[in-house]
């Protein structure tokens, strides 16, 4: 009778103590079974009324159960004591983080990096040149006739120079000749850099711009090669398949010369306000290097063929980041820069 009761007390405790979630409720469970008026205590108190043989048998069982209960209680108590109180730990994780200053790169830098990454992966060397340039490298060597309108005061910044005529370069192309003077084809280079145009500024015009150009020269480099590389580049730059198209144009340093358009990056060629429903965006100029430029750089006439192409970084950045006014770039205004 009592044997069964002890067993059920023991299993009752072992079931109940598991559910206690804190030390207080665990203690209450313990008191219920082995406290002064606990169920097991009652049996133990009644032991004296039993026969010696029964007392020995039941007493052993009851004491064993009591030890077991005490042991389980201690273990559980320790466990509960070591447990982290998550409620107490709680914080509002939606509060803002502690302010740490981190700067922003200029969008022109971001676009340059992207361009240079793509071209470097295609094996192009990055070459730079001076911003204050001689008349020879900026114009004459690039096949500009002496009376070309670009040489007029209204298009180009000239500096007051005691000796040689000098300009703030109007394009990155002078670097073509500077590079070719030192190197023999085949080669492929890109030239990033700042250029200057003597024109009043407004939302679409700046006198200080950033340009980029590529030059590939070899024995039989052709228009088809240019189309291939331009397509590869723009597809990598915009991260989607881009088409390019060439239209006739004129530049003194290339012949044939092209304007080149790319699939409108906004509407993927379907037609939108950005591309004035044409599906194409005018991006820059290109062409096959004029033999006179090779000759100016010291190469024999008609020995090599090559293409050159360039475009404005600001224009590309405006397209990529949807910037509406070109004057932001040189504004030094953190309200603009901090967005990048």
């Amino acid at each position: 009778m009592d044997k069964e009761k002890i067993a059920s007390i023991k299993s009752g405790f072992l079931e109940e103590y598991q559910n206690s979630r804190n030390e207080k409720s665990l203690y209450e469970v313990k008191v219920k079974y082995v406290g002064r008026n606990g169920e097991l205590t009652k049996i133990l108190k009644k032991l004296k009324n039993l026969s010696a043989e029964e007392r020995k048998q039941i007493g052993t069982l009851a004491n064993e159960a009591r030890r077991e209960i005490e042991k389980a209680y201690e273990a559980r108590k320790k466990e509960l004591g070591e447990r982290i109180d998550w409620e107490k730990e709680k914080i509002d994780v939606t509060l803002p983080g502690k302010k740490v200053e981190i700067g922003s790169l200029h969008p022109v830098t971001l676009v340059y990096r992207e361009i240079e990454r793509v071209f470097s992966s295609m094996g192009f060397e990055i070459v730079e040149g001076p911003e204050l340039e001689t008349d020879w490298y900026n114009f004459t060597s690039l096949n500009f006739p002496f009376d070309h309108p670009a040489r007029d005061m209204q298009d180009t910044f000239w500096v007051k120079s005691p000796k040689e005529k000098m300009v703030l370069r109007t394009h990155t192309s002078p670097v073509q000749v500077r590079y070719m003077e030192k190197r023999k084809p085949p080669f492929r280079i890109i030239v990033p850099g700042r250029v200057f145009r003597n024109e009043a500024t407004d939302a679409k015009h700046e006198h200080t711009l950033h340009q980029f150009e590529a030059l590939v020269v070899g024995d039989d480099v052709n228009v088809g090669n240019f189309k291939y590389i331009a397509k590869e580049f723009f597809s990598a730059f915009f991260g989607k398949k881009m088409d390019i198209r060439l239209r006739p144009s004129f530049f003194p340093f290339t012949e044939p010369s092209f304007e080149f358009d790319i699939t409108c990056a906004i509407c993927s060629g379907k037609g939108c306000t950005t591309c004035k429903n044409a599906g194409w965006l005018e991006i820059g100029g290109a062409g096959m290097v004029n033999q006179n430029v090779f000759v100016a750089a010291g190469y024999p006439r008609n020995k090599y063929q090559g293409f050159a192409w360039g475009f404005g970084i600001e224009r590309l950045a405006m397209m990529k980041y949807k910037i509406d006014d070109i004057r932001w770039f040189e504004s030094g205004d953190l309200r603009f820069i901090k967005q990048f």
Binding site: G103, R188, S249, F250
Partner: protein, 673 residues
């Protein structure tokens, strides 16, 4: 140029709609700009490439282009050569400036309105009808590309009732009122048409007001001439005039066109200006006749440059449709170029013609065959990009400023104007000089940004320019500024900390900061600026800006600045990084508090400790500093240890004692015990 669609259609025989024509020409010849339809007429505007002004700024030229693009031959209408030769005196003083002059006198003219059809075409081409004579000159120009002019003979000086025309340079002080009713003062650089007394037109640009055609005009002098393009451009830019005539002449016109223009104009005058109209004098001065020239073209080169396999007969066809006479001998073309195509001079010029008419979109993309190799690194660009990344991590944002500033900036920054390179033709006085430093423009950024941000940290990497006694140089430079509205103390130490972090991260070792001695530039704060030195070479500076300059710019907070010479840093070889074994032996910390005189430099204290403590001093760290009554209090934490053994406390005490006594003896330091 603005073209009448109907006119182009009549001349070229095209069946395309205006929209189709716009698309075709954009891809094959000239970019379409705009279109306007009014009644039965459509005006189409195309932007003609600068090297095609010779022939394409006319309806005939454009019609020829359309025919070629559509794969058809074009034949221009023939003209009758006037045979009348008599009586008109023309003297050309400089034949280089005027290669050809045709003058014709027509009498018994009646001036009135031109016919409706002519007016419609003029309007469609963007030209306002005036009277039959003026309209005829404009119509002929729009048709053939040859600018014309008509003078009222009654208004110009004559001898025996015949005008005497002199093509000469302007004289100093001479004045002329032109058709725009403005008076212009002439110079010797201007080419004029004159009678025996006075200039009557600014040659190739605009006619004179006094000799203009009026209702009363009965006899006219018609002019169809050729003028030097550069001279026309200079004249019209110096007077700031642009006309349909100057626009064409400055792009250079074929002198042979003058004859066609004149014949066409005479034909119209006879037809439209009264039954009695007749030529009474005609002179053509054309000393150096321009003849067609030859270009030898290798057909294999065409396909090599374009990267396409265009059949040879197709090439021939394209060139012939453009009006070239092509003789084939084997794989070589001998091409005779019509004189109107002044732009065609080389093989590549012809390849362009073949390529564009063939259609660039028909050229297949072709992967180039290139050597596989790693391109050489651009060390400068890589270095600048590393600078940018570290600076952004340190809280700086990148700006890009103009390469210019003003004389006012130079004065505000206490700089010397003679060190600066001056722009000969600046857009405004704000941009008259090339920047000698990056900081001046950064200060303007600070001023702007403090309106919106309490703390401004910006940097720029760019070129600065210098006139070194006539020798011009440009340098790659980095400059950064730091200002914090919420902090009262000097911004120097926060910026210096960032500068140190930058240089450490880049891997520069033994960087020393030396107080500026005898500041040559009054730009920097004299007592709060350090030269940054590596191996006795100055790589830059860090300091506060002279407060006077800040006041000049209206900046109320102290501003700290650093500048680094990128080219100098690039030349410095960085020591290879090498691992040093981490000591397993214990290192103890000892604090050292002291009073020093105000003039005593921290760098001297550190040097003394290192000298007396030797290699047992592993690290020195300043953790507190304050100034009180002319004395500076410093608190340093030293790390003491040996690489060879565990130091006993007696050994540590001995080192400390040595350090302290050296400080007390050499630097008059009072160590608090």
């Amino acid at each position: 140029m603005k073209y009448s669609y109907n006119w182009l259609k009549e001349l070229s025989g095209t069946k395309k709609s205006p929209k189709e024509l716009a698309e075709l020409l954009t891809m094959r010849a000239f970019e379409f700009e705009d279109m306007k339809t009014e009644g039965k007429e459509t005006q189409m505007e195309f932007s003609i490439l600068p090297n095609r002004g010779h022939d394409a700024l006319s309806h005939t030229g454009m019609a020829r282009e359309i025919s070629a693009c559509e794969g058809r031959k074009f034949s221009s209408p023939p003209f009758l050569k006037p045979s009348f030769r008599n009586g008109l005196g023309v003297e050309i003083q400089d034949k280089k400036l005027c290669p050809r002059y045709i003058g014709a006198v027509l009498e018994n003219i009646s001036v009135g309105q031109s016919p409706k059809w002519m007016q419609t075409r003029l309007l469609a081409s963007g030209v306002k009808p005036i009277n039959n004579i003026v309209d005829i000159t404009n119509y002929v120009m729009l048709e053939t590309g040859q600018p014309m002019h008509a003078f009222d003979i009654a208004k110009i000086a004559t001898r025996n009732a015949k005008p005497e025309i002199i093509v000469r340079k302007g004289k100093k002080g001479e004045k002329i009122k032109l058709l725009d009713e403005k008076e212009y003062e002439l110079t010797e650089k201007n080419l004029v048409i004159a009678d025996s007394e006075k200039p009557i037109a600014l040659a190739g640009v605009m006619g004179g007001f006094d000799s203009a055609i009026s209702r009363k005009t009965t006899s006219i002098l018609l002019e169809s001439a050729n003028f030097n393009s550069t001279s026309i451009r200079k004249t019209r830019t110096s007077h700031n005039i642009i006309t349909e005539s100057s626009h064409r002449f400055e792009r250079e016109i074929d002198p042979n066109l003058a004859e066609a223009g004149m014949a066409r104009a005479i034909e119209f005058v006879k037809e439209l200006c009264g039954k009695g109209a007749e030529i009474t004098a005609y002179t053509d001065i054309y000393p150096k006749k321009v003849k067609a020239w030859q270009i030898r073209l290798e057909t294999s080169y065409v396909n090599s440059l374009l990267g396409e396999n265009i059949p040879v007969p197709k090439m021939k066809n394209i060139l012939e449709n453009l009006g070239l006479a092509v003789k084939m001998s084997g794989k070589i073309f001998n091409c005779e170029i019509p004189t109107r195509r002044i732009d065609l001079k080389t093989q590549e010029d012809l390849i362009e013609e073949i390529g564009r008419i063939y259609g660039y979109e028909n050229i297949k993309e072709q992967a180039p065959v290139v050597e596989v190799k790693t391109p050489p690194q651009n060390l400068k660009r890589d270095f600048e990009n590393k600078l940018r990344d570290i600076l952004v991590g340190l809280g700086f944002s990148e700006v890009m400023n103009y390469s210019f500033y003003s004389a006012d900036d130079i004065a505000k920054c206490n700089l010397k104007i003679e060190d600066h390179i001056e722009v000969a033709n600046p857009l405004s006085l704000d941009q008259q000089y090339l920047r000698r430093n990056l900081i001046s423009n950064l200060l303007k950024n600070v001023k702007l940004n403090l309106k919106n941000f309490p703390k401004v940290q910006i940097f720029e990497i760019g070129k600065k320019f210098r006139d070194n006694k006539g020798k011009f140089s440009e340098y790659d430079h980095l400059a950064g500024v730091f200002v914090d509205n919420l902090v009262k103390e000097t911004p120097f130490f926060e910026l210096k900390g960032k500068t140190e972090a930058l240089l450490i991260n880049l891997g520069y070792q033994n960087v020393k900061y030396e107080a500026l001695q005898n500041p040559e530039m009054k730009f920097w704060h004299q007592s709060r600026t350090a030269r940054i030195v590596i191996n006795n070479q100055e790589i830059g500076k860090v300091g506060e800006i002279n407060p006077q300059i800040l006041e000049n710019y209206g900046i109320k907070k102290r501003v700290a600045v650093f500048g680094l010479k990128i080219s100098v840093l690039l030349e410095m070889k960085l020591p290879e990084k090498q691992y040093k074994a981490v000591s397993k032996l214990p290192i103890v910390e000892r604090d050292l508090s002291m009073f020093v005189e105000k003039e005593t430099k921290y760098s001297d204290i550190v040097a003394s400790i290192k000298k007396s403590g030797g290699n047992l001093v592993k690290n020195i760290n300043l953790f507190d500093v304050f100034e009180k009554e002319g004395e500076k209090s410093l608190a340093l934490r030293l790390k003491i240890g040996s690489d060879a053994k565990t130091l006993t406390s007696a050994e540590i005490d001995a080192v400390m004692k040595k350090i302290i006594s050296a400080l007390e003896k050499d630097l008059k330091v009072k160590v608090r015990k």
